[in-house]
Symmetry: C2
Subunit: 417 residues, 2 copies
């Protein structure tokens, strides 16, 4: 089964909004064995929509469309669907009752005519009820292809994908198996990893595909197997993974599908009943964001301080003024004090601290752009490392976040194994 | 001039990575008057790439392609470009020298053969030097269409867009003018706004297009004018904007192109030399992130505390235990103490605090899912409001962030006008 995902909206084409809907839909379809062939973002323009529908017709089994379902004039998806399917809009009484109730409850006012017109749907479509918004999803077939139209508001789209679209596809279609395994490596670049596994890679069968996903400091290797015999695919993937780990076991840190470093760390901390907090300067809260983004993080993540202003390092984190004056605010000594004091304040087992200059211009210190000190307080003491991450700014921040997590994982393993 | 943006990579099609490159490129092209007709994400598959190139050939002037330029086997863009343009790869000596120097400097080792092969480029292409990475950009023409291929690593892509692609397009092409004006409104829903401006909207000329960009609590109205006479377009847009503001001036909070609420707030704080800090519980640092994401935020943003664990509210923010016991951790009283103490600790003019239950399950308090208290400490005292943002979790967080900023803007205006 093949799918395409279409996002409708000029705000995406002028770069005003980043399309995150397509990624969510792709992941949901991938999980049930549907291969997404293409994602497209197109204009709120009738002809562009019609052309794209025609291009997808009978080349994929499912087309998922988001956007253009609002009540205003620039939302033309519904009318265009009627044109494409030679259909007319009819009023759906269940949807209208839902819209009226929702507006009354949420906004304490009566639904306007424009609100009520959200209940107008193409007569040939199956309505997918939207419990969390006013625009319903629509499921409508032509030839070999089902077109599914969803609102573009992310949480409404997610609700409809999870509660309506995926269950309906699972019920109505037979699908092959797609299995991914992702191996997370760190410390070596893409080309070095590739050279080390060259023979292994050349020996892969045609139904197993390898992809390299490089990020600063780490490379993920994704193996994808596709076929009809799930048992066979699983066994074969496991066999290949084992031989891969024999080759590069020294740099492999995780094995599961979604095993990012922060997920691995989260599991380790939970298992060992350990806690963590962060004190960040140049990384501006991004380490906290990455750690707290893992589901279940409240079990081990106690909180963070972001000390943008230098004086806050002394005040909030009790870094001594004499340390700052003797060594500068970007220094190993300040990073160490930040980490130790953060560990004390939050009463955690571990604390990460960063101080550095991410650029583009020099800050409160004389440190060159790219210099970052990362300190890690552990139950056994504190370690600190100096890095030069170069530039630009976002690379410095990303690499500092990556290195912090690497240091943390190494130390946790040392302490708990 | 029309453009298309193509992203190559299976990691996007299975939802493992969100494509943020296309948005950046779209914004850069829009700024120089190039209209992006379509964005596509396609597979690392030779035939898919060839088909897409053929589809774009002579229908747009510029095709910008990212991804697939790494040194490993799954990176097939270069070979596919050779097939499409009936070309062969040759070694570019300048690029090779750059790669060798970069690897030596960054990694303190010699470049491998795989590194050096980054210098292989199609003979017909113009090389776009990449100062921040090993894979060069490529500019190659066929018929009426220029194909520009860039690496997918975001900061390398951004470097090449800013320093190579945009300057080259500006030098070599005549372009029309596209002007956007965005009006930010808040407090009323999309359909209410639409009804209020219906006559005004119907009266817009064909060369001015209106789009509604709704978000929880606010609606942005984007006007786009396109044509060859810049002066005429500017005047006409201004005239339409003035009449729009006469209609809905009571809910308009900003007028500029990129005027989000956080940008408006940043400008107000900078102008008046006021500062801000945040103390967040249920919003988990997102308010800090939104505020500090504005360029120049270090002028007014002092930092934040994220108090995930209840005990940290007492310890780090000195919220009194008796307040928590008397009123529960999700209460107006706790929010007020958090804000006042945050203002004191960071020595700022303003401080925002949030406490609530974003769901999906109940936390340390008995508050229903969706209940959020937002407190704002100002130079004149502290205000607090209670909200029920319903569910799901991300909607609760987004609306809490939006409401916090609205409350802040209102208070700043009150104090400084």
């Amino acid at each position: 089964m093949k799918a395409a995902i279409i996002t409708i909206g000029d705000e995406i084409l002028i770069g005003q909004i980043i399309d995150t809907n397509s990624g969510y839909i792709a992941k949901a379809l991938d999980r049930i064995g549907i291969e997404v062939k293409e994602m497209l973002s197109i204009s709120d323009d009738k002809q562009a929509i019609l052309d794209t529908f025609a291009l997808m017709q009978d080349t994929v089994d499912v087309v998922v469309i988001t956007g253009g379902l609002g009540p205003t004039k620039d939302d033309i998806t519904k009318k265009t669907i009627c044109d494409y399917f030679e259909d007319t809009l009819i009023r759906n009484v269940e949807v209208e009752a839902h819209v009226i109730a929702l507006i009354e409850k949420a906004l304490q006012r009566e639904a306007s005519q424009m609100n009520k017109d959200q209940a107008l749907v193409p007569s040939k479509c199956v309505v997918l009820p939207n419990e969390v918004g006013t625009a319903p999803g629509m499921w409508i077939q032509k030839g070999q292809t089902v077109f599914v139209s969803l609102p573009g508001v992310p949480y409404e789209m997610k609700y409809l994908i999870d509660h309506q679209v995926v269950p309906k596809i699972v019920k109505e279609y037979k699908r092959p198996f797609i299995i991914h395994k992702t191996v997370l490596t760190y410390g070596q670049g893409e080309s070095v990893v590739a050279e080390r596994i060259e023979d292994w890679e050349n020996d892969l069968p045609s139904y197993i595909k390898l992809a390299y996903l490089p990020a600063p400091g780490r490379v993920r290797l994704r193996l994808t197997a596709k076929g009809t015999d799930r048992q066979f695919l699983e066994t074969e993937l496991e066999r290949r993974l084992t031989s891969l780990c024999l080759l590069i076991g020294d740099i492999v840190v995780g094995l599961d599908e979604e095993e990012t470093l922060e997920v691995v760390i989260g599991r380790l901390l939970t298992q060992k009943n350990k806690t963590i907090a962060t004190a960040e300067s140049c990384t501006g809260g991004k380490i906290a964001q990455v750690i707290s983004g893992v589901s279940g993080a409240s079990n081990y993540y106690k909180g963070s301080v972001v000390v943008y202003a230098t004086e806050m390092k002394t005040k909030l984190l009790e870094v001594s003024l004499s340390t700052i004056e003797a060594h500068s605010v970007v220094s190993a000594e300040v990073a160490k004090e930040m980490a130790i004091n953060c560990q004390k304040i939050f009463e955690t087992d571990y604390a990460i601290a960063t101080t550095g200059n991410a650029g583009p211009s020099k800050g409160d210190s004389d440190a060159a752009v790219g210099i970052v000190f990362i300190a890690l307080a552990t139950p056994d003491g504190v370690i600190v490392e100096e890095f030069n991450f170069g530039q630009p700014r976002e690379k410095v921040i990303d690499r500092a976040v990556g290195k912090s997590l690497e240091m943390l994982q190494k130390e946790i393993l040392k302490n708990v194994l």
